[in-house]
Amino acid sequence: MSRNLILGTALSSIVVLAAVVSFLWTPYDHAALDIPNKLKPPNATHWLGTDHFGRDMLSMIMVGARTSIAVALVAVGIGMAAGIPLGLTAAARKGSWLDELIMRGNDLVFAFPSLVIAILITAIFGAGAINAIIAIGIFNIPVFARITRGAALSLWEREFIMAARVAGKGTARISAEHILPNIANLLIVQGTIQFSLGILAEAGLSYVGLGAQPPTPSWGRMLADAQTMVSFAPHLALIPGCAIILTVLGLNLMGDGLRDWLDPRIRVART
């Protein structure tokens, strides 16, 4: 295993662990107000300090990790669930009207940045974590459709697929039994990258008020609250910012490491 993979997995695990533990235990109640102790910098009783309402920052970061992970994970799920079948279909019917329709549809969705989709959804249904998930999820669909189609196309030319055809298997069965397992590695790596982009997108959407709404803690929301207080309480902005950076960095390193580890050609070249 490469250094990237180990470091990335370690960083990501810390965040996931913090989120899981927050269901059972947090140092303080993340929503409990303690005005006399507001804006305290990191100290022995509050390891990461307190915010403008005296809430414990560590507890908020732990609970906020849940929001970030949940939104990004479900958004990747949406992208994979819709994008992979579309990509497989397009590749199996290469050059047909269906392929053309799927790919042009992809281009169209691609023209809507996730922020713009979020703006549209918010304009209709109002802001919230669910709408952030939908916006980021929709943005992920063409990403997975494209990468699936591209990888599947080259596999369709291979002899073992030809053999499966001769054996009488239909296109749907070949896609599911032979193509999908062979591109799974690629999709896992892309999933990691989209997951990290999802964390960034969720933070951005909550920051501008289009994501999770109070009292649900989210890292982006914490940064938005910190903005007017950054001059006298910089820890309010530094801590959620570092949480986002470490998570995204961890996932990206893990994605890079996984790609090298799962790609037999690179592995052989190294040994």
Binding site: R104, D107, L108, F110, A111, F112, P113, L115, V116, I119, L120, I121, T122, A123, I124, S196, L200, A203, G204, Y207, V208, G209, G220, L223, A226, Q227, V230, S231, P234, A237, P240, G241, I244, I245, L246, V248, L249, N252, L253
Partner: protein
């Protein structure tokens, strides 16, 4: 080439038509009537009807869609529900902040990424390369709005070199306006520069392994000369594509950065419009952003095909 361009133009028109249809349809299903929102719950039915007629809300949806699209083609985006001023005028005013900001950020990102990518590629595997790649890994992970807040903390609040927010306006002179856009542009540019530097490095490394590079070295050029004369020019093709794509990301990304710096650009316009249910402004700004993305992709495709003839036959 002409046939390829025409084919892409047809698909561009179709994409724009469908995008406009999707945006209009999405906004149309929005609950709440803008006229009743503006007049409040105690509005008289006849006043409401008069306002609906004035805003053009009483005609069938198909007709409203055609009026909206037809208007946009002639530069008429309709009238804002809340401000009662032409939407095109509002967009034009805000555009003078958002567009220069995106271009400024694009320039900065290119100026940072090119030397960084070239340096890393020419020192492949050495400490310099590892340092640059580590920095780009970090740059990609930093949320631009958080970086913006840190820039404000350091350069506006502590060092007082820049204003913490607001826009001086172009009438105060080019220097003053650019000064208010500098921190936002740096914040926007950094993550994009990190991506671009990585692309630049890998494109250069791909080219360095090519036969013509070996030929260039064999005929007596130094490593540096071969890199500048032959390597860079060939590596530019994928890099330019990414630069094109980044422009649309920067335009959309400026929506968030404008919030940090209180810049009166398209981003703030659209958020104000959402909160006041000024849907005609929302749909026009969204359409404009999508139009920009589709147009940039179109130009990039054409430029790519012009440089690389193989692509023309592929689609």
């Amino acid at each position: 080439m002409l046939r390829y361009a025409l084919k892409r133009l047809l698909s561009l028109t179709l994409s724009l038509a469908i995008a406009s249809l999707v945006i209009f349809a999405v906004i149309e299903v929005a609950p709440g009537d803008p006229a009743s929102f503006m007049l409040g719950v105690n509005a008289q039915p006849d006043t409401l009807a008069a306002l609906r007629a004035e805003l053009g809300l009483d005609v069938p949806k198909t007709e409203r869609y055609l009026t909206w699209v037809g208007g946009m083609l002639t530069g008429d985006f309709g009238t804002s529900y809340t401000y009662r001023t032409p939407v095109s005028q509002m967009i034009a005013d805000r555009m003078w902040v958002s567009l220069p900001l995106a271009l400024y950020a694009l320039t900065l990102s290119t100026l940072i990424a090119f030397p960084a990518g070239i340096y890393a590629a020419s020192r492949r595997g050495k400490p310099g390369d590892i340092a640059v790649m580590g920095a780009t890994q970090l740059g990609v992970a930093v949320p631009n709005f958080w970086f913006a807040m840190m820039l404000v903390l350091i350069f506006a609040i502590n060092l007082r070199w820049f204003n913490a927010g607001g826009f001086a306006g172009w009438d105060k002179g080019f220097g003053a306006a650019m000064q208010s856009l500098t921190l936002p542009a740096i914040a926007l540019a950094l993550p994009q520069a990190a991506i671009l530097a990585r692309v630049m490095r890998s494109a250069l490394l791909d080219v360095l392994g090519e036969d013509f590079m070996r030929t260039a070295r064999a005929k007596g050029l130094s490593h540096r000369q071969a890199l500048w004369r032959h390597g860079l020019r060939n590596a530019l093709i994928p890099v330019l594509t990414i630069i094109g794509l980044q422009f649309s990301f920067l335009l959309a990304g400026s929506i968030i950065i404008e919030q940090v710096f209180y810049l009166p650009g398209l981003g703030r316009l659209v958020f104000q419009a959402i909160s006041s249910r000024d849907l005609i402004v929302v749909e026009s700004v969204v359409m404009l952003l999508v139009f920009a993305v589709i147009m940039v992709n179109f130009v990039v495709d054409l430029a790519y095909a012009a440089v690389d003839p193989r692509l023309r036959s592929r689609t």
